[in-house]
């Protein structure tokens, strides 16, 4: 269970470039709930995720993980429970390291890293290859290739696997299909929902696509100017079309949505 309690974040506080990124966010996400997050540019979606993974410290409010306050935990410590996939495929993996080396990094998450060989025994390497085989994109035969030689979609699939390789609780997806072509984006999105479902992960997915936001997961929240302005349960959003959502959002923020990308997607 993930709970955000009265979270506020201000960037460049006290300077002329002060930005109130989040204002009094209360969000309660149940175990295994998949929440899609949507909103125009600058709404605070990415900041929200950064607060969850710990790269941004809120100036007010607390983050709870299964009832435990983790607000002060640095990102490296939270990584034991929180896995993250970045928007930019290059950010989630190390280009110069091979597929299996990247996975080995993820497999050692939360453990004490030692002077043992990073790839471990033959059976360990086989286990890593088996995990890659589950992605069903044919990379299990290319385990020793540098990740830099893979396509964006393949890299995102590997990032997703790395984020979820070990037992963990919270999966954070930050527009992780936005930089991919439509075919690869659909495949990566399908993989994400499948992994979240089978592993019963509590998931927060930021997306630019209203269609994806409605089609995926159990619940949709819409953000604007650092606030959560709309929050739909599974039953509520089942009746919604993209057009309805757009209209409701426009009403909620008191103006028409001017973000073309958000509208059309």
């Amino acid at each position: 269970m993930l709970k955000l309690d009265d979270i506020s974040v201000t960037f460049n506080a006290g300077t002329p470039t002060e930005v109130r990124a989040l204002t009094g966010i209360d969000l309660h996400i149940h175990d295994g709930e998949f929440v899609t997050v949507i909103g125009s540019n600058g709404a605070g979606k990415s900041t929200l995720l950064s607060v969850v993974v710990g790269t941004v410290k809120p100036e007010r409010g607390s983050v709870y993980l299964d009832g435990e306050a983790v607000t002060a935990w640095p990102p490296a410590k939270r990584a034991m429970h929180v896995g993250r996939v970045f928007q930019e495929p290059r950010l989630g993996t190390c280009s110069s390291l091979s597929i299996e080396e990247n996975l080995a990094l993820a497999a050692a998450r939360g453990k004490n890293r030692t002077l043992k060989g990073a790839l471990g025994s033959r059976s360990n390497r086989q286990w890593l290859a088996d995990q890659v085989a589950k992605l069903e994109i044919g990379l299990e035969d290319r385990m020793t290739q540098p990740v830099g030689t893979l396509s964006g979609g393949q890299r995102q699939a590997i990032s997703l696997l790395m984020a979820t390789l070990l037992p963990m609780k919270i999966l954070v997806l930050d527009e992780h299909t936005a930089a991919l072509d439509p075919g690869a984006a659909a495949k990566v999105l399908a993989l994400s929902t499948e992994i979240a479902e089978t592993r019963k992960l509590t998931t927060l997915m930021v997306t630019h696509s209203m269609r994806d936001a409605l089609a995926v997961g159990h619940r949709t929240i819409m953000m604007d100017s650092g606030r959560i302005v709309l929050d739909f349960t599974e039953e509520e959003r089942a009746k919604l079309t993209v057009q309805d959502l757009s209209n409701l959002f426009g009403k909620a923020i008191g103006k028409q949505i001017d973000d073309d990308k958000l509208m059309l997607a």
Binding site: F86, G92, L105, A108, T114, G148, G152, Q154, L180, G183
Partner: protein
């Protein structure tokens, strides 16, 4: 070139391959342009010389020099990681401070080592290859350092260190304490450089406070030449490149000095080095661009991505 000059070039090439390995760890693996090197090289010399002068065993004295190098690297990394000082400036601060510290350690601008046994004297008592005894010992150190680096970068910690240098955001997301990795890598890097300094002083029979000037450029020259010749895809190849690059560089210097063409004198060496580095960087840039074009643009272009879909 005389045999003597040739042997000298091989000797100093192997010696500076230790510096190149250190520079490889900081500049390449950690992505930390570290200028501490110009201070940790004479630091190694100073510590070894002071220890030798006070009658400590030559190998132990050399070991102490390595420890001092670790400490120097830790200071630079701490300034950067803990106190947020820019990486270049952190290195410069440590380098400047080390000038004074080295004078303190040596109790003066230099320490002659004529009346004490060095590691090379000890080695000669084991095996005497004449002109090549020193070269053999330095080669053992250089190859040992290379193999140690190869092994280390394949361990769990080593892999975490590489990830921290290449992609700190991803490393953090994988639970790696990036700052701590920077401390480890910088210590190791400056340890190699201090070892080189310690050996250099014992080879020359003197430790001098000004002997560190230009160390970083020499190390970079070796590193870049090695990359230009062998590439830098795999760790094993990249570290081999450090040794090969340093050898080529010193042979080139020896050749240009002995040939006497265009009238190159010892005082022109720094200019020659700077030109060699500049040319090597320009050449390797051109090569990288050509190979990118051959690969057909950025790796996440649509046609390639379709294979995933």
């Amino acid at each position: 070139m005389s045999l003597f000059a040739f042997a000298g070039a091989i000797e100093s090439g192997l010696l500076f391959s230790l510096v190149a390995l250190g520079v490889f760890l900081s500049f390449r693996v950690l992505d930390f342009p570290d200028l501490t090197v110009d201070g940790s090289f004479p630091l190694g010399a100073a510590v070894a010389a002071a220890a030798l002068a006070s009658g400590i065993d030559p190998f132990l004295a050399t070991g102490l020099a390595i420890l001092a190098g670790w400490a120097a690297g830790l200071v630079t990394a701490t300034l950067n990681v803990r106190f947020g000082i820019m990486n270049l400036l952190s290195g410069i601060l440590t380098m400047v401070a080390l000038f004074s510290i080295n004078l303190r350690i040596m109790g003066g601008p230099n320490v002659p080592l004529y009346n004490v046994d060095t590691v090379f004297d000890v080695a000669e008592s084991w095996i005497d290859l004449g002109l090549w005894t020193n070269t053999l010992l330095i080669a053992v150190f250089a190859i040992g350092a290379k193999l140690l680096t190869d092994w280390f970068l394949k361990t769990e910690i080593g892999l975490a260190l590489r990830a921290s240098g290449e992609n700190p955001a991803m490393a953090e997301a994988q639970g790696i304490a990036v700052g701590r990795m920077r401390l480890v890598g910088m210590a190791m890097s400056n340890g190699f450089v201090a070892l080189a300094g310690a050996l250099f002083a014992q080879l020359q029979g003197v430790a001098d406070v000004s002997m560190g000037i230009g160390t970083i450029v020499t190390g970079l020259a070796a590193l870049i030449i090695g990359e230009a010749v062998l590439g830098r895809r795999m760790v094993f190849v990249a570290t081999l490149g450090c040794i090969v690059g340093a050898l080529i560089y010193r042979l080139f210097i020896a050749l240009s000095l002995s040939a006497g063409w265009i009238g190159i004198q010892p005082q022109d060496l720094n200019l020659v080095t700077a030109i060699v580095v500049a040319i090597a960087v320009i050449l390797s840039k051109g090569r990288a661009q050509r190979s990118r074009r051959k690969a057909g643009g950025a790796p996440n272009t649509a046609p390639a991505a379709k294979k995933a879909g």
